[in-house]
Each structure stands twice: as structure tokens, then as C-alpha cells.
């Protein structure tokens, strides 16, 4: 009975805060736009009964998503940006995690602190700070002009480059922490054994360190990829009109167009796309847990 109660708490949490809202969003995605409050029909009415209510629902909005190429282009572009940004974050994060794992024992808590430190300020403020750095009159351009590396200020803000910088910066800790924890557990004698058996340093890294940190790499990539795919704040603040991401489209559909049914359909499809990597991520975690037993 007590065990049942313990399991019931997370399930109740998930039901109330995830399943019920999702059911509501799903219902709205099957409704029609209307000038009313809330802006969709049908509304549930006890007098007409549940069957009449269900009969009025249809998949019209999902069909609409396939007809207007804005949507699938936004999905594809989001995927592209998310995949590239995840790869970039890995390229930046792996060396940092590797350096941390190899640092003297007494330094590691400090280094870990430095990685986590940005979380102490608001995410929004940090993104605004990047606007100050990357704008045409920003600090980056000032420094580059002053040192004479460039003559004309670089246009970075409001381009995809700025979006990539913002994503890599924001999600870097989510990459570093799992990779670091995988590298930290790596037994140093394995590298020595590889060298002893004829590997150069680089070869030992490629044949032993990389494969053994793979669970950390996979976990880090998913932790970056999943939130990046639906990212809305970074593309709307740092990206320009050319930056097409589904999170931005979703926001505009909801707040500018006030077309809740279409916006809900966009959200449902986004969730379905995300289910695939989430399931893969779970499987990776499970496999890792089994291997450690």
C-alpha cells in the first residue's frame, strides 16, 4: 500500500500537469477557429451531450499544416538548426568536460561551479547580454575593430549565427555535465593499457576514451537537442526575420494570429516529433544503467 502511494505521487503529478493539459491542447487542435472567448468552437455543453460534441471535432487543422509550406519548412529548419547546434555544443563541450575530468582533483569542484554559475542569473538577461555583445556597435565588434582585425563591423545579430551562438552558450552545461560524469568515471589505467598495447595518445583517445564516454555524449546531445528543437526565446531575440523555427511560428500563431486550434496542432506535431528522441534517450539511459550493474 505504501509502495503504491509512493508510485502514485509521480503519476498523479504527470497526469495533472502533463496529461490533462495535453488532452486539452489536443482537443483544441481538433476544434475550429471562432471569434469568441476562448477563440474556438465547439465548447462542451452539458445540454447537447458528449456525442454531439465529439461529432464536431475534425482533423482540419492538421490537414492545413500540410497545405501551407510555412509549417513543414519551419519544422525542417528547426530540425536542421537543432542538429547543427547540438553538434556545435558537443564540439565545444567535449574538450571542456575532458579538461575538467583531467584537472587535478582539488580544482574540479571549482570548475564544476564555473560551469553551473550562469544558471544563477536569469536566462533572459543572459540572452539580452548577448544582444549587447553581438550587435553592430556591440563589444565584440568594438574589440575586433580596435585590434584592427576587421575594418567593417560584422553583422552577427539577427542572423542564424547569433542563434547558434545563443544556443551553444545556453545549453553548454547540459552537454558538459553528462560528458564530464562519463569521463570522470573512466579508469585511467584503461588509457595506460591502450598505450601499453601499442596505441599512441591520440589513438588511445579515439579507441578507448571516445567509446567509453559515448553514453555521456548521447545523453548530452539529447539534453541539448530536445529543448533546442522547440526553442522560442533565442531565435526571436537573436535571430532575424530569416530565422525560421517552429517555436517562433507557434508563438505567432497563438499570440499574433490568435488561431488557437492551428497553434495547438503545431504543438501536437512538435511533441510527436520530440517523442522519438525522448524514447531513444530513455533507452540509452536504461542501457547504461544495465551496463553498470
Amino acid at each position: 500500500m505504501r509502495r503504491f502511494l509512493l508510485i502514485a505521487i509521480p503519476y498523479a503529478w504527470l497526469t495533472v500537469l502533463f496529461l490533462v493539459p495535453f488532452a486539452i491542447v489536443f482537443k483544441i487542435s481538433l476544434s475550429d477557429y471562432a471569434v469568441s472567448i476562448p477563440p474556438y468552437v465547439p465548447q462542451f455543453d452539458w445540454a447537447e451531450g458528449i456525442m454531439a460534441f465529439i461529432r464536431e471535432l475534425d482533423f482540419e487543422n492538421f490537414v492545413f499544416l500540410t497545405e501551407d509550406d510555412l509549417y513543414w519548412k519551419a519544422y525542417l529548419s528547426s530540425l536542421k538548426i537543432a542538429i547543427s547546434a547540438t553538434f556545435l555544443t558537443l564540439c565545444v563541450g567535449y574538450p571542456i568536460a575532458y579538461g575538467m575530468a583531467r584537472a587535478p582533483e582539488e580544482w574540479r569542484p571549482t570548475l564544476m561551479m564555473l560551469v553551473i554559475l550562469p544558471f544563477w542569473t536569469s536566462f533572459l538577461i543572459r540572452v539580452y547580454a548577448w544582444m549587447g555583445i553581438l550587435s553592430n556597435e556591440g563589444y565584440l565588434n568594438q574589440v575586433l575593430l580596435w585590434t584592427g582585425i576587421i575594418n567593417e563591423p560584422l553583422t552577427i545579430l539577427n542572423t542564424n549565427t547569433a542563434v547558434y551562438i545563443g544556443i551553444v552558450y545556453t545549453y553548454l552545461p547540459f552537454m558538459i555535465l553528462p560528458v564530464y560524469s562519463a569521463l570522470d568515471r573512466l579508469d585511467g589505467s584503461l588509457i595506460e593499457a591502450a598505450e601499453d598495447l601499442g596505441c599512441s595518445r591520440a589513438k588511445a583517445f579515439w579507441l578507448v576514451t571516445i567509446p567509453l564516454s559515448r553514453p555521456g555524449i548521447i545523453a548530452g546531445c539529447f539534453l541539448v537537442f530536445i529543448p533546442t528543437l522547440g526553442e522560442f526565446v533565442i531565435p526571436s531575440l537573436l535571430g532575424g526575420s530569416g530565422t525560421l523555427m517552429i517555436g517562433k511560428v507557434l508563438w505567432e500563431e497563438f499570440f499574433s494570429n490568435r488561431d488557437w486550434p492551428v497553434a495547438s496542432a503545431v504543438a501536437v506535431i512538435l511533441l510527436l516529433i520530440l517523442v522519438i528522441p525522448i524514447v531513444l534517450f530513455q533507452r540509452n539511459q536504461q542501457k547504461q544503467a544495465e551496463a553498470e550493474q
Binding site: 589505467s189 595506460e192 593499457a193 596505441c199 599512441s200 578507448v208 567509453l212
Partner: protein
């Protein structure tokens, strides 16, 4: 038996495979190896024995190439190995933790070193099969290291380090993780494999029994220095210091003052009002010099009556008995409070034991039973 035939260390013309020449290794302020000189010969099974922190692992890591000496030279087959990185040395190591690659199968672990040498695929397969046969693991080739037992892992590690047919194999506490029974079996297996492959083995261990069992020669180390390097029987029978005598096996140490009494014979006054002891020794002692008589418990006889022909005999009371199954160790307290250990084989059933607690007994030993040591 083998040591009578195989003894290159007694041959002045023999060329050592490994030569440590005045090697010193410091880690900051700490001196791990202190001006050490040592020769190890081909086909030897050489044991480095000592307590933890004595520098034995540092010696091994210098041979493997993971550390380099601060001073002095290490030669392998006549060549200074300092400039050779670990991956270019004809030396392989079996790690204490085994260091098997967890993401590779047993087969791939053994093939790892061979593939790095760009050996043809067919030859790699043959060699791996041969190694699997050698350690009797043919059936486990496809398993991952976490799917086999500790003893099997140990054999995979051995096969992997032997696969490249190194000139020298280093074994760092190879049997430390195994339980006693398995350890004893594996010791003989190791000796077998060493003989079959003709590889020179250097083993690091803190287990003196293990060193005595497997090694052709044992080096007893303490605080970065070699205390004694010799065959197991000589280390046991004629230790050169109280430290070595005490480290190897069980021993009674009696401190006293030596007085020469004829050729190589000394009288030892060791306690007021107790009859002096007699011991033969080839080591020279001046009259009145402090000396230590080291005598193994199994060389002390325990009897009810005073034996008539014994060179040394003392009377005492049985203070304690340690029953080991095959042996019994009697802790006999002498009137002056000294405790002397005497060991006997339990040839009769325990219910028929001759002596029991609080019995008055005589301990006796011959003049040549002990070793007289200066320090």
C-alpha cells in the same frame, strides 16, 4: 629443482635483460626509489615484494614507460629505455585492475594489441585463438568483460598482455582480487604459462607467499631500497636483516650481546639470569656487539622434558595455542616475559594433543637453526 639448473644470476658472464643502474625516482619531495641497482635476467620470474608504498609499483611503471627515472639509467637488452614511449616498448603489463576494455569482447580485448601492430587479419585470428587456448577461455571469446567471473577476467588480462609476445611481462598484483583457493591455482597456472612461453616475468606483490611460490628470485623492498635479492629459499633461510626475516614468514627475534666462542660460534647473552644461547654464524661479530637471533617457529622443538643434546633449551609456560588445522603454533611465555613461538605439525588428532594451555614445556633448537643478524 629448477633453480639448481637455472641460475643466470650466479653466472658472471650472463647478460641481464633488464638493468637498473643507480636509479632514483622522486615525486616532488618524496623519494620513491633511492639509488637502486638491480639486474634481472632473461626467462626469470622475478618478484618485487614489499609493503605498500615501498616503491615496487614505481619500479614497474618505470619499466612500462609510465614514469621515467629522475636519475640513473634503465636498460632493456642493453639499451637505455628512457627515450622509448610506452607504446614502442617490447614490454607489456598486466594491470592490477586488469584494465580490460569494457566496450570490447574478450576476443577483441586480446586482439587489441595485435591490431595496433597492423598484423594481417589471419595472423591476428590465429594468435588470439592460441592465447584463448593458453588461458582456457575459448568458450568465452564473445563475452564482454562484465559477463565473466573475476578469475576469468584475470586470465583475459594475462592473455591480452602475452598476445604481443613481449620480451618482458609486468604483472602488477595480478592475483590480488582473487580469493585464496583460486589464487593458489592461478599461481601454478602462471608459472606454467611462464615456462611455456619463455617470457621474462616481473611480478609486483605484497603477498610473500605468492612471491615465494612463483618466483625464481625475490627482491624484498622497503622505502625505495632493495633489502635483499635472492632465491626464495635463501631469503627464507638466510635473511640478511631483521626486516627481511620479519617480513618473510613468521619469526622469533631474540636480541642479545654476542661473544665469540670458537670458530663461527657465538654465545648470546640475552637476558639477566637466563642461560645464554649458542648460535653458529658466518657473519662476524665483535665481543659485546648487539645481535639479533632470528629463528623460525618450525625450527623450535617443543617437549615436556629437557632434551639432553640440545644446544639451546629454555623452559616456559604455554600462553596460547593457534590451531591452523595442519599446524599448531604454541606461544610459550618464558619466565622473563618473552614470548617464543614454536610450531609443530598436527600429526595426531586434536583430542590427543600433548600440550595444552598453562603446561610447562621445554623449547629447544640447534646452534645452526637460527640466523644471527646485526640489524
Amino acid at each position: 629443482m629448477q633453480s639448481s639448473k637455472f641460475a643466470p644470476w650466479d653466472d658472471p658472464d650472463a647478460k641481464p635483460l633488464i638493468r637498473f643502474k643507480n636509479v632514483t625516482k622522486r615525486f616532488g619531495e618524496f623519494t620513491a626509489i633511492d639509488n637502486l641497482t638491480l639486474d634481472i635476467y632473461e626467462r626469470e620470474f622475478f618478484a618485487l615484494l614489499g609493503p605498500s608504498g615501498c616503491g615496487k609499483t614505481t619500479m614497474m611503471r618505470m619499466l612500462a614507460g609510465f614514469e621515467s627515472p629522475t636519475e640513473g639509467v634503465i636498460e632493456l637488452a642493453g639499451q637505455d629505455i628512457a627515450p622509448v614511449p610506452p607504446n614502442k616498448r617490447a614490454v607489456n603489463m598486466m594491470f592490477q585492475s586488469y584494465a580490460l576494455f569494457p566496450h570490447l569482447s574478450v576476443w577483441d580485448n586480446i586482439a587489441f594489441g595485435l591490431r595496433r601492430d597492423r598484423m594481417p587479419k589471419r595472423d591476428v585470428e590465429d594468435r588470439v585463438e592460441e592465447m584463448l587456448r593458453l588461458v582456457r577461455l575459448e568458450k568465452f571469446a564473445k563475452r564482454k568483460p562484465h559477463q565473466i567471473s573475476g578469475g576469468q577476467r584475470q586470465r583475459v588480462a594475462l592473455a591480452r598482455s602475452l598476445a604481443k609476445a613481449p620480451k618482458l611481462l609486468l604483472l602488477d598484483e595480478p592475483l590480488g582480487a582473487l580469493d585464496k583457493k583460486l589464487r593458489q591455482d592461478t599461481q601454478f597456472e602462471l608459472m606454467d604459462i611462464q615456462e611455456k612461453t619463455g617470457t621474462t616475468f616481473v611480478i609486483v606483490t605484497h603477498d610473500q607467499e605468492e612471491a615465494m611460490t612463483v618466483a625464481s628470485r625475490v627482491a624484498v623492498m622497503d622505502q625505495g631500497q632493495l633489502m635483499q635479492v635472492s632465491t626464495p629459499d635463501r631469503i627464507y633461510e638466510t635473511p640478511n636483516s631483521v626486516y627481511v626475516a620479519d617480513f618473510i614468514g613468521d619469526v622469533n627475534i631474540i636480541q642479545g650481546r654476542a661473544t665469540p666462542e670458537g670458530e663461527e660460534t657465538y654465545r648470546i647473552d640475552w637476558s639477566e639470569g637466563v642461560q645464554p644461547l649458542t648460535a653458529k654464524s658466518s657473519n662476524e661479530f665483535a665481543a659485546g656487539q648487539t645481535c639479533h637471533l632470528a629463528i623460525r617457529p618450525e625450527k623450535v622443538a617443543i617437549t615436556a622434558e629437557r632434551p639432553e643434546d640440545a644446544a639451546n633449551a629454555v623452559q616456559g609456560r604455554v600462553h596460547d595455542i593457534a590451531y591452523l588445522g595442519n599446524l599448531s603454533t604454541y606461544y610459550v611465555e618464558l619466565p622473563n616475559g618473552t614470548i617464543i613461538k614454536a610450531q609443530t605439525s598436527n600429526t595426531r588428532r586434536i583430542s590427543r594433543r600433548t600440550f595444552t594451555w598453562e603446561d610447562t614445556v621445554w623449547l629447544s633448537w640447534t646452534a645452526t637453526a637460527g640466523v644471527l643478524l646485526a640489524n
